[in-house]
């Protein structure tokens, strides 16, 4: 009996093959399969749900144009997420320029203005906690550069390997590690400063 994961992978390969042959119905299924992760990755980089939706939609439109050139011997996700992440980084750069022009630097506000600050994590209901974390992450990650944000998202949230991230971003693995170190330092400082109840230990 074919396991669920294996069967899903096979379905995905078959779908991709049909898409490469120009089958738009299969492409619709592929979009349904990859949509949530594409929006989530874009959201973690651009920090705005509507911008993330735009980025993901643009990525799929580009994918349709590019999928014929996809080499089926390569893993699909890193190849596709290269498009998503690069579009998201470009979008984030545009947004940063806009926000610096309109509001000036200094995205982090005081803890008093965050009503969710002070809620504890252990034992909390996970979906509710996720909602709070989303707000905290968006505020703290506003202090990161676009590539730092992409690296942190891919490594710590999506669980991608360093080698894969280097390939997606077109940079060296050592550069990925540097960006990750800087991103972690900035986020830890933000967490300690604005949400100390989440930051019990800074020995690492």
């Amino acid at each position: 009996m074919v396991s669920g994961v294996r069967s899903r992978m096979f379905d995905e390969r078959a779908l991709i093959r049909l898409c490469r042959h120009g089958d738009q119905r299969s492409f619709e299924q592929l979009v349904a399969l990859k949509r949530d992760k594409a929006i989530r990755v874009a959201f973690n980089i651009v920090g705005d749900e509507d911008d993330a939706k735009d980025v993901a939609q643009q990525a799929f439109i580009k994918l349709w144009g590019a999928i014929r050139g996809y080499d089926e011997t390569m893993r699909f996700d890193p190849w596709f997420f290269k498009i998503v992440v690069n579009l998201a980084i470009d979008q984030y750069r545009r947004t940063q320029r806009r926000s610096v022009t309109l509001a000036g630097p200094g995205a982090l506000e005081s803890a008093e203005s965050h009503p969710e600050a002070g809620l504890s994590v252990p034992g909390a209901d996970v979906p509710l906690m996720r909602h709070e974390l989303r707000g905290i992450f968006n505020r703290l990650a506003a202090g990161l550069g676009p590539v730092q944000r992409a690296v942190f998202t891919l490594k710590e949230i999506e669980g991608a390997e360093t080698e894969e991230i280097a390939s997606i971003l077109g940079i060296r693995e050592s550069t990925v590690r540097n960006h990750l170190m800087q991103a972690r330092r900035i986020l830890k400082e933000g967490l300690r400063r604005w949400y100390p109840e989440y930051a019990k230990d800074f020995s690492r």
Binding site: D23, I61, P122, V126, E156, G159, L191
Partner: protein, 214 residues
Amino acid sequence: MTDKTACDRFERSLDAYLGDALASREREAARRHASSCPKCLARLTLQDPLQIFLPLSAETPSSRVTDGFWDTVRAGIERERAAGKREAVPMHPVRPGRLAAFAGRGFTPIAIAASLLVMVLAAYLAAVAPAQFAPLDRSASRAGIARAAAAPLPRVSVVAAGNPLPQTLEHVRTDDARDVQIYSMTWLDQDASSGHDPNQVTELILIVDAGLKL
């Protein structure tokens, strides 16, 4: 497997997880467990506070974002198609900013020199090379068509508007100098009653004279 077993297993692999020493499958299992188990997540964040963001990996977009998602993608595809833009996107998309930076570093003369070299090479090939690309053997044979049918995928895809069948079309000149069109239809047979493997991708190739239209 009970939750307690999963928690015990997570606790045993905690140090290896934090040290990035787990194999990718075990690492993914640990991530999945911690992102949905508040107790183990709390245990993890005591060691590394930034793991607090792990549950974001299981976040799903709101219906406000997903509603009409495909319609917009499809409209974008139609726009691109109307503009004749179905070309490949490079694996490492070059951003305009990077190109400008490249030109700004004094690389323009190199680009001009490279262009000149390409033009000279093209002129040389136009004058000398045709003999090396002479027409194929004109001896008529069915093997010529068979060879054309064996041309490697992918072929040029043409999907007629409103036509549910994907059609792949390629124009080939066979060994016996006949112009033929190769149509390929590919589908996923998910009808269990047909007795076929439900995941089997089937491809039908039709070869016809170039003048004939399907």
